[in-house]
């Protein structure tokens, strides 16, 4: 049995930075960091847009697993829905 399979939804402003990138992805990962790493392998540079070098999720980005705010180390289980959102700040 491999790592959990999860669905990741990305915000439009992030997708727009990677032409051809879809807004919804299925990846296999044990943690949020692993899911973002999987996306970064497909879309090089995507991790840097979501995470800083602390390392942490960027200050004006929120990652939810289900309905709970998550961090990079949040563990995943099969079927989790990860939603990446941009904060209302930033205009």
């Amino acid at each position: 049995m491999g790592p959990p399979r999860v669905v990741v939804t990305l915000p439009a402003a992030l997708v727009a930075l990677f032409p051809g990138c879809a807004g919804r992805h299925v990846v296999a990962a044990e943690t949020v960091a692993g899911a973002i790493a999987a996306l970064d392998r497909a879309w090089p540079g995507l991790r840097d847009r979501v995470c800083d070098s602390s390392p942490a999720v960027r200050r004006h980005i929120r990652v939810f697993v289900g309905s709970a705010i998550a961090g990079l180390e949040t563990p995943l289980t099969d079927g989790d829905e990860i939603v990446v959102l941009t904060a209302i700040s930033g205009g």
């Binding site: 402003a13 727009a16 930075l17 540079g45 840097d48 960027r58 980005i61 700040s89 930033g90």
Partner: protein, 367 residues
């Protein structure tokens, strides 16, 4: 009769970094007609956009509140763009880089100054970056204080003939210089004031609020500096700075732009003062020019608004081109661009209603 350079030039591109992306003004070789393109870079805040005269590649440094720092790149004169921040980061545990602030290029090596202050270099056209770690290892670094714009490294001035030498300007840590390719750095602030310090600390070794740093044409040891507290010139690479502010309407301003071929000519845009609103004095816009290294100054006002002008011009928002006669350009923090095709003698508004303009640079496109 067009000059030889005009015949060789297909267009002049004025690159505008703004709070909402890069804009480009395309001008004819005579610089009489302009067309605006943009915004590019997904309307990210862009602090500095430059063109590489050797390749025509355009680079844009910025930082987005959501997505962090990146340097954008266009290989087709601004039509399409990519971005990267690979390696543009401090080690884990340190305060992360928030934005790229300034760019410079020398012999194919691209440099980026960032916030919080540090220097990076790229040998692959901005696709990946390496930290020039020696600067942040300087013993003064824990005492560096941010200016109003943050702790930013906003000017990178490489020596054109010696790859080991670079000057950088940091607000508000001052000017630093390396002569060993970035391994070690020394403050170069002697003679520049800190009016905001107690009297006994007016001339510290570092901590000055430098606003702009410009190298005189063909004389790398001559640098000009617009500071929060005065205007200065050095003729020995920054070991000693001398005030050249007598004759100016104010000791406060942001940009300082050296003439591309005359080391005695410099352009400034003084503002009314750091606690007086930071707009052009008396609401009347003027670029100030010296043709003798800062001994005498003249105001250039023809074509610029002379009443009810309450804009400022930011530190990287004025530039020359390399045509003859030299063209000069500045962009305001209220989104207006003025251009001169005659060394600043007369001016024309060539764009307005843009976002606040952070930087202005030019590149010539060959016919």
């Amino acid at each position: 009769m067009p000059s030889r350079e005009e015949r060789m030039t297909d267009r002049v591109m004025v690159l505008l970094g703004t709070r909402k992306g890069v804009f480009i003004l395309d001008g004819d070789p005579g610089r009489s007609a302009w067309r605006l393109r943009g915004p590019f870079c997904n309307a990210w805040p862009i602090n500095h956009a430059i063109g590489d005269p050797a390749t025509g590649t355009i680079y844009a440094a910025g930082g987005n509140a959501w997505f962090g720092p990146a340097v954008w790149r266009s290989d087709d004169l601004g039509e399409t763009w990519t971005h990267s921040s690979e390696g543009l980061a401090y080690p884990a545990g340190e305060t992360p880089v928030t934005a790229a602030w300034s760019l410079a290029i020398r012999d194919g090596t691209l440099f980026a100054g960032v916030e919080p202050a540090g220097l990076f270099s790229s040998d692959d056209g901005g696709r990946s970056w390496a930290h020039v770690a020696g600067l942040r290892q300087h013993p003064s670094r824990p005492e560096w204080q941010p200016g109003a714009g943050g702790l930013i490294l906003h000017h990178v001035v490489p020596h054109p003939g010696d790859e080991d030498q670079i000057w950088v300007a940091i607000s508000a840590a001052g000017v630093f210089h390396t002569q060993d390719g970035g391994a070690s750095w020394a403050p170069r602030n002697s003679g520049t004031r800190c009016d905001f310090n107690p009297p006994e600390k007016r001339y510290p070794e570092f901590g000055q609020c430098v606003h702009a740093l410009a190298m005189a044409a063909g004389t790398p040891e001559r640098l000009y500096q617009q500071n929060h507290c005065g205007m200065y010139r050095t003729d020995d690479g920054g070991r000693a700075w001398h005030s050249i502010e007598t004759g100016l309407p104010s000791s406060f301003g942001f940009p300082a732009v050296a003439h591309p071929s005359d080391p005695e000519t410099l352009y400034l845009l003084p503002l009314n003062g750091d606690v007086s609103g930071r707009y052009v004095p008396e609401g009347k816009a003027a670029v100030w020019r010296t043709r003798d290294g800062g001994t005498q100054w003249e105001a250039l006002r023809a074509g610029l608004p002379q009443q009810n002008a309450f804009f400022g011009v930011l530190r990287q928002a004025m530039a020359t081109d390399t045509l003859t006669p030299t063209g000069l350009y500045f962009g305001t923090n209220t989104g207006t661009v003025y251009a001169s095709a005659d060394e600043g003698d007369t001016w024309t508004c060539v764009a307005e209603h843009l976002p606040a303009i952070s930087s202005v640079e030019t590149i010539l496109v060959s016919a």
